[in-house]
Protein backbone atom coordinates (compact mmCIF):
# COMPACT_ATOMS: atom_id res chain seq x y z
CA UNK A 1 0.00 0.00 0.00
CA UNK A 2 1.41 3.41 -0.92
CA UNK A 3 2.27 5.82 1.87
CA UNK A 4 -0.30 8.34 0.68
CA UNK A 5 -3.14 5.80 0.50
CA UNK A 6 -2.25 4.40 3.93
CA UNK A 7 -2.22 7.96 5.33
CA UNK A 8 -5.62 8.81 3.84
CA UNK A 9 -7.24 5.61 5.12
CA UNK A 10 -5.95 6.18 8.65
CA UNK A 11 -6.86 9.88 8.53
CA UNK A 12 -10.41 8.98 7.52
CA UNK A 13 -10.63 6.33 10.27
CA UNK A 14 -9.23 8.79 12.80
CA UNK A 15 -11.77 11.50 11.87
CA UNK A 16 -14.69 9.04 11.97
CA UNK A 17 -13.64 7.46 15.32
CA UNK A 18 -13.06 10.88 16.87
CA UNK A 19 -16.45 12.21 15.77
CA UNK A 20 -18.33 9.01 16.73
CA UNK A 21 -16.52 9.00 20.08
CA UNK A 22 -17.43 12.61 20.82
CA UNK A 23 -21.08 12.15 19.78
CA UNK A 24 -21.55 8.83 21.60
CA UNK A 25 -19.83 9.95 24.79
CA UNK A 26 -21.82 13.20 24.74
CA UNK A 27 -25.10 11.28 24.34
CA UNK A 28 -24.14 8.82 27.08
CA UNK A 29 -23.39 11.62 29.52
CA UNK A 30 -26.63 13.43 28.61
CA UNK A 31 -28.61 10.26 29.30
CA UNK A 32 -27.07 10.19 32.79
CA UNK A 33 -27.97 13.84 33.33
CA UNK A 34 -26.20 16.50 35.43
CA UNK A 35 -23.62 15.01 37.81
CA UNK A 36 -23.81 16.39 41.33
CA UNK A 37 -20.63 16.57 43.39
CA UNK A 38 -22.45 17.67 46.56
CA UNK A 39 -21.57 14.53 48.53
CA UNK A 40 -19.34 11.46 48.10
CA UNK A 41 -22.40 9.23 47.85
CA UNK A 42 -23.78 11.30 44.95
CA UNK A 43 -20.39 11.15 43.17
CA UNK A 44 -20.31 7.39 43.74
CA UNK A 45 -23.82 7.08 42.36
CA UNK A 46 -22.87 9.08 39.25
CA UNK A 47 -19.73 6.96 38.73
CA UNK A 48 -21.82 3.80 38.97
CA UNK A 49 -24.21 5.19 36.39
CA UNK A 50 -21.30 6.07 34.07
CA UNK A 51 -19.58 2.68 34.24
CA UNK A 52 -22.85 0.86 33.75
CA UNK A 53 -23.76 2.89 30.64
CA UNK A 54 -23.16 0.98 27.41
CA UNK A 55 -23.21 4.25 25.40
CA UNK A 56 -20.39 5.71 27.50
CA UNK A 57 -18.28 2.56 27.02
CA UNK A 58 -18.94 2.68 23.29
CA UNK A 59 -17.78 6.32 23.24
CA UNK A 60 -14.62 5.41 25.15
CA UNK A 61 -13.94 2.54 22.71
CA UNK A 62 -14.32 4.93 19.75
CA UNK A 63 -11.98 7.45 21.34
CA UNK A 64 -9.42 4.71 22.08
CA UNK A 65 -9.55 3.66 18.40
CA UNK A 66 -9.15 7.34 17.48
CA UNK A 67 -6.07 7.67 19.69
CA UNK A 68 -4.48 4.53 18.20
CA UNK A 69 -5.00 5.89 14.65
CA UNK A 70 -3.59 9.23 15.80
CA UNK A 71 -0.44 7.53 17.17
CA UNK A 72 -0.03 5.35 14.08
CA UNK A 73 -0.20 8.42 11.83
CA UNK A 74 2.50 10.09 13.90
CA UNK A 75 4.77 7.07 13.34
CA UNK A 76 5.45 8.37 9.80
CA UNK A 77 3.57 11.57 8.94
CA UNK A 78 4.63 15.13 9.82
CA UNK A 79 3.19 16.69 12.97
CA UNK A 80 2.18 19.72 10.87
CA UNK A 81 0.33 17.35 8.51
CA UNK A 82 -1.62 15.40 11.16
CA UNK A 83 -2.34 18.23 13.60
CA UNK A 84 -4.45 20.54 11.36
CA UNK A 85 -6.50 17.62 10.04
CA UNK A 86 -7.90 17.16 13.54
CA UNK A 87 -10.03 20.24 12.72
CA UNK A 88 -12.08 17.89 10.52
CA UNK A 89 -13.77 16.90 13.79
CA UNK A 90 -15.48 20.31 13.79
CA UNK A 91 -16.92 19.39 10.38
CA UNK A 92 -17.95 15.78 11.00
CA UNK A 93 -19.49 16.16 14.49
CA UNK A 94 -22.14 18.76 13.50
CA UNK A 95 -22.95 16.83 10.32
CA UNK A 96 -23.29 13.60 12.30
CA UNK A 97 -25.51 15.32 14.87
CA UNK A 98 -27.62 16.78 12.06
CA UNK A 99 -28.02 13.37 10.42
CA UNK A 100 -28.61 11.30 13.58
CA UNK A 101 -30.48 13.67 15.86
CA UNK A 102 -31.69 16.30 13.40
CA UNK A 103 -30.07 19.12 15.38
CA UNK A 104 -29.94 22.22 13.16
CA UNK A 105 -26.63 23.85 12.11
CA UNK A 106 -26.46 27.64 12.28
CA UNK A 107 -25.26 29.80 9.38
CA UNK A 108 -22.05 30.73 11.24
CA UNK A 109 -21.26 27.08 11.83
CA UNK A 110 -21.91 26.24 8.15
CA UNK A 111 -19.40 28.95 7.19
CA UNK A 112 -16.88 27.49 9.66
CA UNK A 113 -17.49 23.97 8.33
CA UNK A 114 -16.86 25.03 4.72
CA UNK A 115 -13.66 26.92 5.64
CA UNK A 116 -12.34 24.01 7.75
CA UNK A 117 -13.16 21.59 4.95
CA UNK A 118 -11.15 23.71 2.47
CA UNK A 119 -8.21 24.07 4.87
CA UNK A 120 -8.05 20.38 5.80
CA UNK A 121 -8.34 19.38 2.13
CA UNK A 122 -5.47 21.71 1.26
CA UNK A 123 -3.28 20.28 4.05
CA UNK A 124 -4.25 16.75 2.99
CA UNK A 125 -3.03 17.47 -0.55
CA UNK A 126 0.54 18.21 0.67
CA UNK A 127 3.23 15.56 1.12
CA UNK A 128 2.58 13.74 4.44
CA UNK A 129 6.34 13.45 5.13
CA UNK A 130 8.79 16.30 4.56
CA UNK A 131 11.61 15.20 6.88
CA UNK A 132 13.40 11.99 7.64
CA UNK A 133 12.17 10.13 10.70
CA UNK A 134 14.41 10.47 13.73
Amino acid sequence: MSLRRKTYILLAARVVFNACGDVTLGRGMKQIGPVSIASPSLIGHALLQIISSGTVWMGIAFLLAFFICHLLLYSWADYSFVMPTSAANFVVVPLLVLLLFNEPISFTRWVGIVIIFLGVTLVGMTQPVTRKAA
Binding site: L71, Y74, S75, W76, P94, V120, V123
Partner: protein
Protein backbone atom coordinates in the same frame (compact mmCIF):
# COMPACT_ATOMS: atom_id res chain seq x y z
CA UNK B 1 -3.16 25.19 24.87
CA UNK B 2 0.62 25.17 25.25
CA UNK B 3 0.64 21.92 27.20
CA UNK B 4 -1.68 20.34 24.61
CA UNK B 5 0.67 21.30 21.77
CA UNK B 6 3.76 20.27 23.72
CA UNK B 7 2.16 16.96 24.70
CA UNK B 8 1.11 16.23 21.15
CA UNK B 9 4.58 17.07 19.82
CA UNK B 10 6.26 14.79 22.38
CA UNK B 11 3.87 11.95 21.53
CA UNK B 12 4.62 12.54 17.83
CA UNK B 13 8.39 12.45 18.53
CA UNK B 14 7.99 9.22 20.52
CA UNK B 15 6.10 7.64 17.63
CA UNK B 16 8.84 8.75 15.20
CA UNK B 17 11.30 6.83 17.43
CA UNK B 18 9.11 3.73 17.10
CA UNK B 19 9.36 4.15 13.32
CA UNK B 20 6.79 3.74 10.55
CA UNK B 21 4.20 1.10 11.42
CA UNK B 22 3.67 -0.88 8.24
CA UNK B 23 1.46 -3.74 9.40
CA UNK B 24 -1.85 -3.33 11.18
CA UNK B 25 -2.41 -6.82 12.53
CA UNK B 26 -3.24 -6.94 16.29
CA UNK B 27 0.16 -8.52 16.96
CA UNK B 28 2.05 -5.79 15.04
CA UNK B 29 0.03 -3.09 16.82
CA UNK B 30 0.76 -4.64 20.23
CA UNK B 31 4.46 -4.80 19.37
CA UNK B 32 4.45 -1.09 18.38
CA UNK B 33 2.46 -0.33 21.56
CA UNK B 34 4.97 -2.09 23.81
CA UNK B 35 7.83 -0.26 22.06
CA UNK B 36 6.24 3.16 22.54
CA UNK B 37 5.43 2.35 26.17
CA UNK B 38 9.16 2.01 26.81
CA UNK B 39 9.87 5.53 25.52
CA UNK B 40 9.79 8.11 28.38
CA UNK B 41 8.90 10.93 25.93
CA UNK B 42 5.58 9.19 25.24
CA UNK B 43 4.59 9.14 28.92
CA UNK B 44 5.64 12.77 29.39
CA UNK B 45 3.62 13.73 26.30
CA UNK B 46 0.60 11.73 27.48
CA UNK B 47 0.78 13.33 30.93
CA UNK B 48 0.89 16.78 29.35
CA UNK B 49 -2.12 15.93 27.16
CA UNK B 50 -4.05 14.72 30.21
CA UNK B 51 -3.03 17.79 32.18
CA UNK B 52 -4.11 20.08 29.32
CA UNK B 53 -7.50 18.33 29.16
CA UNK B 54 -8.17 18.86 32.86
CA UNK B 55 -6.82 22.41 32.84
CA UNK B 56 -9.17 23.11 29.91
CA UNK B 57 -12.10 21.87 32.00
CA UNK B 58 -10.91 23.87 35.00
CA UNK B 59 -10.47 26.99 32.87
CA UNK B 60 -14.01 26.58 31.57
CA UNK B 61 -15.26 26.67 35.18
CA UNK B 62 -13.79 30.10 35.94
CA UNK B 63 -12.87 31.92 32.69
CA UNK B 64 -15.53 33.20 30.31
CA UNK B 65 -16.30 30.78 27.46
CA UNK B 66 -15.68 33.62 24.99
CA UNK B 67 -12.04 33.54 26.03
CA UNK B 68 -11.51 29.79 26.29
CA UNK B 69 -13.10 28.50 23.09
CA UNK B 70 -11.35 30.74 20.53
CA UNK B 71 -8.10 29.63 22.18
CA UNK B 72 -8.70 26.25 20.48
CA UNK B 73 -8.21 27.98 17.13
CA UNK B 74 -4.97 29.54 18.32
CA UNK B 75 -3.72 26.04 19.16
CA UNK B 76 -3.33 25.36 15.43
CA UNK B 77 -1.08 28.37 15.02
CA UNK B 78 1.06 27.36 18.04
CA UNK B 79 1.27 23.78 16.74
CA UNK B 80 2.28 24.91 13.25
CA UNK B 81 4.95 27.28 14.54
CA UNK B 82 6.31 24.47 16.75
CA UNK B 83 6.42 22.12 13.76
CA UNK B 84 8.44 24.67 11.83
CA UNK B 85 10.86 25.81 14.50
CA UNK B 86 11.13 22.82 16.86
CA UNK B 87 10.62 19.85 14.54
CA UNK B 88 12.12 21.62 11.47
CA UNK B 89 9.34 20.41 9.18
CA UNK B 90 9.01 22.04 5.77
CA UNK B 91 5.62 23.71 5.84
CA UNK B 92 5.23 24.98 2.27
CA UNK B 93 2.67 27.56 1.13
CA UNK B 94 -0.18 25.04 0.62
CA UNK B 95 0.10 23.58 4.12
CA UNK B 96 0.43 27.01 5.68
CA UNK B 97 -2.67 28.34 3.89
CA UNK B 98 -4.50 25.11 4.85
CA UNK B 99 -3.65 25.58 8.54
CA UNK B 100 -4.73 29.23 8.43
CA UNK B 101 -8.06 28.24 6.81
CA UNK B 102 -8.61 25.48 9.39
CA UNK B 103 -7.81 28.01 12.10
CA UNK B 104 -10.29 30.57 10.65
CA UNK B 105 -12.94 27.85 10.38
CA UNK B 106 -12.45 26.73 13.98
CA UNK B 107 -12.69 30.38 15.03
CA UNK B 108 -16.05 30.63 13.20
CA UNK B 109 -17.32 27.44 14.88
CA UNK B 110 -16.09 28.75 18.24
CA UNK B 111 -17.87 32.06 17.59
CA UNK B 112 -21.05 30.08 17.05
CA UNK B 113 -20.52 28.18 20.31
CA UNK B 114 -20.31 31.41 22.30
CA UNK B 115 -23.34 32.86 20.56
CA UNK B 116 -21.71 35.28 18.11
CA UNK B 117 -23.79 34.93 15.00
CA UNK B 118 -22.56 35.72 11.54
CA UNK B 119 -25.16 37.13 9.16
CA UNK B 120 -24.95 36.68 5.38
CA UNK B 121 -24.37 40.44 5.14
CA UNK B 122 -21.41 40.27 7.56
CA UNK B 123 -20.00 37.31 5.65
CA UNK B 124 -20.18 39.26 2.39
CA UNK B 125 -18.38 42.18 4.06
CA UNK B 126 -15.65 39.88 5.38
CA UNK B 127 -15.29 38.23 1.98
CA UNK B 128 -15.13 41.60 0.24
CA UNK B 129 -12.32 42.86 2.48
CA UNK B 130 -10.54 39.53 2.26
CA UNK B 131 -10.59 39.63 -1.56
CA UNK B 132 -9.53 43.28 -1.55
CA UNK B 133 -6.52 42.43 0.60
CA UNK B 134 -5.62 39.41 -1.55
CA UNK B 135 -5.93 41.61 -4.65
CA UNK B 136 -2.98 43.60 -3.32
CA UNK B 137 -0.67 40.55 -3.32
CA UNK B 138 0.35 40.97 -7.00
CA UNK B 139 1.25 44.58 -6.19
CA UNK B 140 3.58 43.27 -3.49
CA UNK B 141 4.98 40.85 -6.07
CA UNK B 142 5.74 43.71 -8.48
CA UNK B 143 7.47 45.63 -5.69
CA UNK B 144 9.48 42.52 -4.79
CA UNK B 145 10.57 42.26 -8.45
CA UNK B 146 11.68 45.87 -8.35
CA UNK B 147 13.63 45.22 -5.14
CA UNK B 148 15.27 42.03 -6.48
CA UNK B 149 16.22 43.70 -9.78
CA UNK B 150 17.67 46.73 -8.01
CA UNK B 151 19.77 44.51 -5.74
CA UNK B 152 21.01 42.28 -8.58
CA UNK B 153 21.93 44.93 -11.11
CA UNK B 154 23.22 47.52 -8.61
CA UNK B 155 25.51 44.91 -7.03
CA UNK B 156 26.81 43.75 -10.38
CA UNK B 157 27.37 47.25 -11.67
CA UNK B 158 29.35 48.08 -8.54
CA UNK B 159 31.72 45.19 -9.31
CA UNK B 160 32.74 47.04 -12.48
CA UNK B 161 34.00 45.70 -15.80
CA UNK B 162 34.31 41.97 -16.32
CA UNK B 163 37.74 40.53 -15.42
CA UNK B 164 40.17 39.68 -18.23
CA UNK B 165 42.59 37.48 -16.30
CA UNK B 166 40.42 34.35 -15.94
CA UNK B 167 40.00 32.80 -19.37
CA UNK B 168 39.89 28.98 -19.35
CA UNK B 169 39.25 27.53 -22.85
CA UNK B 170 35.55 27.01 -23.58
CA UNK B 171 33.48 24.87 -25.97
CA UNK B 172 30.37 26.67 -27.21
CA UNK B 173 27.79 24.02 -28.04
CA UNK B 174 24.87 24.76 -30.38
CA UNK B 175 22.13 22.21 -31.04
CA UNK B 176 20.23 23.49 -34.09
CA UNK B 177 17.18 22.41 -36.03
CA UNK B 178 15.69 24.20 -39.02
CA UNK B 179 16.09 27.78 -40.03
CA UNK B 180 15.64 30.42 -37.31
CA UNK B 181 14.98 34.08 -38.08
CA UNK B 182 18.26 35.93 -38.67
CA UNK B 183 20.15 32.67 -38.11
CA UNK B 184 23.29 33.98 -39.79
CA UNK B 185 23.49 36.97 -37.42
CA UNK B 186 22.80 34.73 -34.44
CA UNK B 187 25.47 32.14 -35.30
CA UNK B 188 28.06 34.67 -36.43
CA UNK B 189 27.70 36.65 -33.17
CA UNK B 190 29.47 33.70 -31.50
CA UNK B 191 32.38 34.08 -33.94
CA UNK B 192 33.05 37.66 -32.90
CA UNK B 193 33.69 36.94 -29.24
CA UNK B 194 36.46 38.77 -27.47
CA UNK B 195 37.95 35.66 -25.83
CA UNK B 196 41.37 34.00 -26.26
CA UNK B 197 40.54 30.33 -26.77
CA UNK B 198 37.19 28.78 -27.64
CA UNK B 199 35.58 26.48 -30.17
CA UNK B 200 32.05 26.36 -31.55
CA UNK B 201 30.41 23.00 -32.21
CA UNK B 202 27.08 22.83 -34.05
CA UNK B 203 24.98 19.71 -34.35
CA UNK B 204 22.24 19.68 -37.00
CA UNK B 205 19.34 17.24 -37.21
CA UNK B 206 20.27 15.57 -40.52
CA UNK B 207 21.81 16.35 -43.93
CA UNK B 208 18.62 18.05 -45.12
CA UNK B 209 18.50 20.45 -42.12
CA UNK B 210 17.96 23.98 -43.48
CA UNK B 211 20.34 25.36 -40.84
CA UNK B 212 23.34 23.64 -42.51
CA UNK B 213 23.88 26.11 -45.43
CA UNK B 214 23.85 28.99 -42.93
CA UNK B 215 26.42 27.27 -40.68
CA UNK B 216 28.63 26.51 -43.71
CA UNK B 217 28.48 30.18 -44.76
CA UNK B 218 29.47 31.24 -41.22
CA UNK B 219 32.36 28.74 -41.31
CA UNK B 220 33.50 30.20 -44.65
CA UNK B 221 33.17 33.82 -43.49
CA UNK B 222 35.09 33.22 -40.24
CA UNK B 223 38.01 30.98 -41.24
CA UNK B 224 40.01 31.92 -38.11
CA UNK B 225 37.26 30.76 -35.80
CA UNK B 226 37.43 27.16 -34.63
CA UNK B 227 34.01 25.82 -35.81
CA UNK B 228 32.86 22.24 -36.30
CA UNK B 229 29.58 20.98 -37.73
CA UNK B 230 28.23 17.57 -36.73
CA UNK B 231 25.24 15.92 -38.36
CA UNK B 232 22.71 13.86 -36.42
CA UNK B 233 22.58 12.45 -32.90
CA UNK B 234 21.67 9.09 -31.45
CA UNK B 235 17.96 8.83 -30.76
CA UNK B 236 17.98 8.19 -27.00
CA UNK B 237 14.69 9.81 -26.02
CA UNK B 238 11.77 12.03 -27.00
CA UNK B 239 13.60 15.33 -26.47
CA UNK B 240 15.70 15.67 -29.60
CA UNK B 241 17.55 18.69 -28.26
CA UNK B 242 18.86 16.59 -25.34
CA UNK B 243 19.90 13.82 -27.77
CA UNK B 244 22.00 16.45 -29.55
CA UNK B 245 23.36 17.86 -26.29
CA UNK B 246 24.65 14.41 -25.33
CA UNK B 247 26.61 14.18 -28.60
CA UNK B 248 27.88 17.75 -28.29
CA UNK B 249 29.30 17.20 -24.80
CA UNK B 250 31.01 14.02 -25.99
CA UNK B 251 32.61 15.90 -28.89
CA UNK B 252 33.55 19.05 -26.93
CA UNK B 253 37.33 19.46 -26.61
CA UNK B 254 37.33 21.66 -23.53
CA UNK B 255 36.24 20.84 -20.01
CA UNK B 256 34.17 24.01 -19.61
CA UNK B 257 31.27 24.31 -22.04
CA UNK B 258 28.40 26.71 -22.69
CA UNK B 259 25.27 25.37 -24.39
CA UNK B 260 22.74 27.75 -25.88
CA UNK B 261 19.59 27.52 -27.98
CA UNK B 262 19.84 28.22 -31.72
CA UNK B 263 17.90 31.51 -31.50
CA UNK B 264 20.34 33.12 -29.06
CA UNK B 265 22.49 36.07 -30.10
CA UNK B 266 25.34 37.41 -27.99
CA UNK B 267 27.58 40.46 -27.58
CA UNK B 268 31.40 40.12 -27.97
CA UNK B 269 31.96 40.05 -24.18
CA UNK B 270 29.47 37.15 -23.68
CA UNK B 271 31.96 34.44 -22.76
CA UNK B 272 33.84 36.60 -20.29
CA UNK B 273 30.61 37.16 -18.36
CA UNK B 274 29.64 33.48 -18.50
CA UNK B 275 33.07 32.25 -17.39
CA UNK B 276 33.56 34.86 -14.63
CA UNK B 277 31.51 33.09 -11.89
CA UNK B 278 33.46 29.82 -12.34
CA UNK B 279 36.38 31.45 -10.58
CA UNK B 280 34.51 30.40 -7.41
CA UNK B 281 34.77 26.58 -7.07
CA UNK B 282 31.35 26.51 -5.33
CA UNK B 283 29.69 27.54 -8.62
CA UNK B 284 28.39 24.51 -10.51
CA UNK B 285 26.59 26.15 -13.42
CA UNK B 286 25.96 29.54 -15.00
CA UNK B 287 22.83 30.60 -16.82
CA UNK B 288 21.77 33.90 -18.38
CA UNK B 289 18.89 36.31 -18.25
CA UNK B 290 17.71 37.38 -21.68
CA UNK B 291 15.97 40.10 -23.66
CA UNK B 292 14.10 39.59 -26.89
CA UNK B 293 14.35 40.81 -30.49
CA UNK B 294 11.07 40.77 -32.40
CA UNK B 295 10.05 40.85 -36.05
CA UNK B 296 7.41 43.55 -35.61
CA UNK B 297 4.45 41.20 -35.11
CA UNK B 298 2.28 41.73 -32.04
CA UNK B 299 2.84 38.14 -30.89
CA UNK B 300 6.63 38.36 -30.92
CA UNK B 301 6.48 41.72 -29.13
CA UNK B 302 4.36 40.13 -26.39
CA UNK B 303 6.89 37.30 -26.26
CA UNK B 304 9.74 39.79 -25.77
CA UNK B 305 7.89 41.61 -22.99
CA UNK B 306 7.00 38.35 -21.24
CA UNK B 307 10.60 37.13 -21.43
CA UNK B 308 12.17 40.30 -20.08
CA UNK B 309 9.64 41.41 -17.48
CA UNK B 310 7.85 38.25 -16.38
CA UNK B 311 10.46 35.51 -16.74
CA UNK B 312 13.48 37.57 -15.73
CA UNK B 313 11.52 39.26 -12.91
CA UNK B 314 10.63 35.85 -11.45
CA UNK B 315 14.19 34.59 -11.95
CA UNK B 316 15.58 37.62 -10.11
CA UNK B 317 13.19 37.07 -7.18
CA UNK B 318 14.25 33.43 -6.77
CA UNK B 319 17.89 34.48 -7.16
CA UNK B 320 17.47 37.05 -4.39
CA UNK B 321 15.53 34.98 -1.87
CA UNK B 322 16.49 31.33 -2.37
CA UNK B 323 19.35 31.33 -4.87
CA UNK B 324 18.88 30.32 -8.50
CA UNK B 325 17.88 26.65 -8.68
CA UNK B 326 17.38 26.24 -12.44
CA UNK B 327 18.95 27.14 -15.77
CA UNK B 328 17.50 28.53 -18.98
CA UNK B 329 18.27 27.47 -22.55
CA UNK B 330 19.64 30.98 -23.20
CA UNK B 331 22.86 29.59 -21.68
CA UNK B 332 23.65 26.44 -19.72
CA UNK B 333 27.33 26.49 -18.80
CA UNK B 334 29.14 23.96 -16.63
CA UNK B 335 32.14 21.65 -16.64
CA UNK B 336 32.23 18.05 -17.81
CA UNK B 337 33.06 16.89 -14.26
CA UNK B 338 30.02 18.63 -12.79
CA UNK B 339 27.81 17.23 -15.54
CA UNK B 340 29.14 13.74 -14.77
CA UNK B 341 28.10 14.18 -11.14
CA UNK B 342 24.44 14.59 -12.20
CA UNK B 343 24.75 11.58 -14.51
CA UNK B 344 25.23 13.59 -17.72
CA UNK B 345 22.31 14.68 -19.92
CA UNK B 346 21.19 11.07 -20.41
CA UNK B 347 18.58 11.08 -17.58
CA UNK B 348 16.94 14.13 -19.21
CA UNK B 349 16.23 12.61 -22.65
CA UNK B 350 12.46 12.44 -22.06
CA UNK B 351 12.16 15.66 -20.07
CA UNK B 352 10.30 18.63 -21.41
CA UNK B 353 12.14 21.24 -19.33
CA UNK B 354 15.69 19.94 -19.80
CA UNK B 355 17.19 23.34 -18.94
CA UNK B 356 15.28 23.58 -15.66
CA UNK B 357 16.22 20.01 -14.71
CA UNK B 358 19.88 20.59 -15.59
CA UNK B 359 20.17 23.57 -13.23
CA UNK B 360 18.02 21.98 -10.55
CA UNK B 361 20.12 18.81 -10.39
CA UNK B 362 23.36 20.79 -10.15
CA UNK B 363 21.83 22.88 -7.37
CA UNK B 364 20.87 19.64 -5.60
CA UNK B 365 24.58 18.70 -5.53
CA UNK B 366 25.09 21.63 -3.17
CA UNK B 367 26.68 23.78 -5.88
CA UNK B 368 25.53 27.25 -6.83
CA UNK B 369 23.79 28.16 -10.08
CA UNK B 370 24.75 31.72 -10.96
CA UNK B 371 23.06 34.24 -13.22
CA UNK B 372 25.63 35.84 -15.54
CA UNK B 373 25.87 39.59 -15.02
CA UNK B 374 24.96 40.37 -18.62
CA UNK B 375 21.87 39.09 -20.46
CA UNK B 376 21.89 37.56 -23.95
CA UNK B 377 19.44 38.24 -26.82
CA UNK B 378 16.71 35.84 -27.93
CA UNK B 379 15.62 36.36 -31.52
CA UNK B 380 11.92 35.56 -31.80
CA UNK B 381 10.69 34.37 -35.19
CA UNK B 382 7.46 35.45 -36.86
CA UNK B 383 4.47 34.00 -35.04
CA UNK B 384 0.73 34.40 -35.00
CA UNK B 385 -1.21 35.24 -31.87
CA UNK B 386 -2.50 31.65 -31.80
CA UNK B 387 1.04 30.27 -31.90
CA UNK B 388 2.06 32.65 -29.13
CA UNK B 389 -0.85 31.54 -26.90
CA UNK B 390 -0.12 27.84 -27.53
CA UNK B 391 3.53 28.33 -26.67
CA UNK B 392 2.67 30.19 -23.47
CA UNK B 393 0.26 27.39 -22.57
CA UNK B 394 3.02 24.84 -23.21
CA UNK B 395 5.29 26.76 -20.86
CA UNK B 396 2.64 26.90 -18.10
CA UNK B 397 1.84 23.18 -18.43
CA UNK B 398 5.55 22.37 -18.27
CA UNK B 399 5.93 24.48 -15.12
CA UNK B 400 2.93 22.79 -13.48
CA UNK B 401 4.66 19.44 -13.89
CA UNK B 402 8.08 20.46 -12.65
CA UNK B 403 7.13 22.99 -9.95
CA UNK B 404 3.44 22.68 -9.02
CA UNK B 405 3.81 25.09 -6.10
CA UNK B 406 5.51 27.71 -8.28
CA UNK B 407 2.85 27.23 -10.95
CA UNK B 408 0.05 27.77 -8.43
CA UNK B 409 1.94 30.79 -7.09
CA UNK B 410 1.66 32.39 -10.56
CA UNK B 411 -1.89 33.24 -9.49
CA UNK B 412 -0.49 35.90 -7.19
CA UNK B 413 1.54 37.48 -9.99
CA UNK B 414 -1.62 38.16 -12.04
CA UNK B 415 -1.97 41.86 -11.30
CA UNK B 416 -4.54 42.73 -13.98
CA UNK B 417 -7.38 40.31 -13.05
CA UNK B 418 -6.84 40.99 -9.33
CA UNK B 419 -6.88 44.76 -9.87
CA UNK B 420 -10.09 44.48 -11.92
CA UNK B 421 -11.64 42.25 -9.23
CA UNK B 422 -10.54 44.65 -6.48
CA UNK B 423 -11.95 47.60 -8.44
CA UNK B 424 -15.24 45.78 -9.11
CA UNK B 425 -15.96 45.00 -5.45
CA UNK B 426 -14.46 48.14 -3.89
CA UNK B 427 -16.97 50.07 -1.75
CA UNK B 428 -16.39 53.39 -3.56
CA UNK B 429 -15.23 54.74 -6.92
CA UNK B 430 -12.01 56.34 -5.58
CA UNK B 431 -10.94 52.96 -4.14
CA UNK B 432 -11.77 51.26 -7.47
CA UNK B 433 -9.68 53.87 -9.29
CA UNK B 434 -6.86 53.35 -6.77
CA UNK B 435 -6.72 49.62 -7.58
CA UNK B 436 -6.48 50.24 -11.31
CA UNK B 437 -3.96 53.03 -10.86
CA UNK B 438 -1.84 50.86 -8.53
CA UNK B 439 -1.79 48.09 -11.14
CA UNK B 440 -0.66 50.35 -14.00
CA UNK B 441 1.84 52.28 -11.89
CA UNK B 442 3.47 49.25 -10.22
CA UNK B 443 3.44 47.12 -13.36
CA UNK B 444 5.18 49.82 -15.35
CA UNK B 445 7.60 50.47 -12.48
CA UNK B 446 8.38 46.73 -12.49
CA UNK B 447 8.86 46.75 -16.29
CA UNK B 448 11.04 49.82 -16.14
CA UNK B 449 13.27 48.52 -13.33
CA UNK B 450 13.68 44.95 -14.60
CA UNK B 451 13.52 45.54 -18.35
CA UNK B 452 14.74 49.06 -19.05
CA UNK B 453 17.09 49.88 -16.15
CA UNK B 454 18.27 46.31 -15.43
CA UNK B 455 18.34 44.40 -18.70
CA UNK B 456 18.62 47.54 -20.87
CA UNK B 457 16.03 46.04 -23.16
CA UNK B 458 15.01 48.39 -26.02
CA UNK B 459 11.75 46.48 -26.63
CA UNK B 460 10.55 47.04 -23.07
CA UNK B 461 11.55 50.71 -23.31
CA UNK B 462 9.49 51.27 -26.45
CA UNK B 463 6.64 48.82 -25.91
CA UNK B 464 6.10 48.69 -22.15
CA UNK B 465 2.54 49.96 -22.66
CA UNK B 466 1.70 46.60 -24.30
CA UNK B 467 2.31 44.80 -21.01
CA UNK B 468 -1.38 44.93 -19.92
CA UNK B 469 -2.25 43.13 -23.20
CA UNK B 470 0.22 40.38 -22.28
CA UNK B 471 -1.25 40.23 -18.77
CA UNK B 472 -4.76 40.04 -20.25
CA UNK B 473 -3.84 36.79 -22.03
CA UNK B 474 -1.69 35.39 -19.20
CA UNK B 475 -4.57 34.71 -16.77
CA UNK B 476 -6.82 32.55 -19.02
CA UNK B 477 -3.71 30.67 -20.20
CA UNK B 478 -2.75 29.97 -16.60
CA UNK B 479 -6.27 28.73 -15.87
CA UNK B 480 -6.27 26.55 -19.01
CA UNK B 481 -2.96 24.97 -18.00
CA UNK B 482 -4.74 23.16 -15.13
CA UNK B 483 -7.00 21.28 -17.50
CA UNK B 484 -4.67 19.70 -20.04
CA UNK B 485 -1.41 17.77 -20.15
CA UNK B 486 -1.11 17.95 -23.94
CA UNK B 487 1.36 20.26 -25.61
CA UNK B 488 2.20 21.09 -29.20
CA UNK B 489 5.91 21.34 -29.94
CA UNK B 490 7.14 22.04 -33.46
CA UNK B 491 4.04 20.42 -34.94
CA UNK B 492 4.15 17.27 -32.77
CA UNK B 493 1.69 16.59 -29.97
CA UNK B 494 2.94 15.29 -26.61
CA UNK B 495 1.48 14.37 -23.26
CA UNK B 496 3.46 15.50 -20.20
CA UNK B 497 3.50 13.37 -17.05
CA UNK B 498 5.78 14.36 -14.18
CA UNK B 499 7.91 16.46 -16.52
CA UNK B 500 8.40 13.67 -19.08
CA UNK B 501 7.06 13.87 -22.60
CA UNK B 502 5.29 11.04 -24.40
CA UNK B 503 4.47 11.64 -28.06
CA UNK B 504 0.79 11.29 -28.87
CA UNK B 505 1.23 10.70 -32.59
CA UNK B 506 4.81 10.42 -33.80
CA UNK B 507 7.71 8.85 -31.91
CA UNK B 508 10.33 11.63 -31.96
CA UNK B 509 10.18 15.22 -30.71
CA UNK B 510 12.18 17.91 -32.34
CA UNK B 511 13.55 20.94 -30.71
CA UNK B 512 16.61 23.13 -31.06
Amino acid sequence: MLTASAGDILVSLAMKQVGEVTHFSPRALLRAGSRVARIPLFWIGLSLLTFSFYSFLALLSWAPVSFVVPATALGYVVGTLSARFILHEKLGAARLIGVLLACAGVAAVSADQIGWQLTPHMLMMILRWFVMVVACVPFMYYLTCVHAARRFFALHRRIGPVSRDFTPPVSILKPVRGFDREAYENYSSFCRLDYPEYEIVFVAHDESDTAIPVIRKVMADFPDCNIRLLIGAEDLGTNNKVNKMIRLVREARHDLFALSDSDVRVDPDYLRYVVEPFRDPRVGAVTCLFRGMHDGSLASQLDCLGAAVEFCGGALISNEFEGTQFAHGATMATTKQTLEKIGGFEPLVDHHADDFEFGNRIYALGLRVELARKPVWMVYGPETLGQYLRHELRWDIGLRHIRPGGHFGLLFTQGLPFAVLGAAIAPSYPISAAYLFAYFFLRFLDAWTVGVWGLRDPVVRRKFWLLPVRDFFAFPIWLASFFTNRIQWRGVEFTIREGRMTPVVRPVADRG
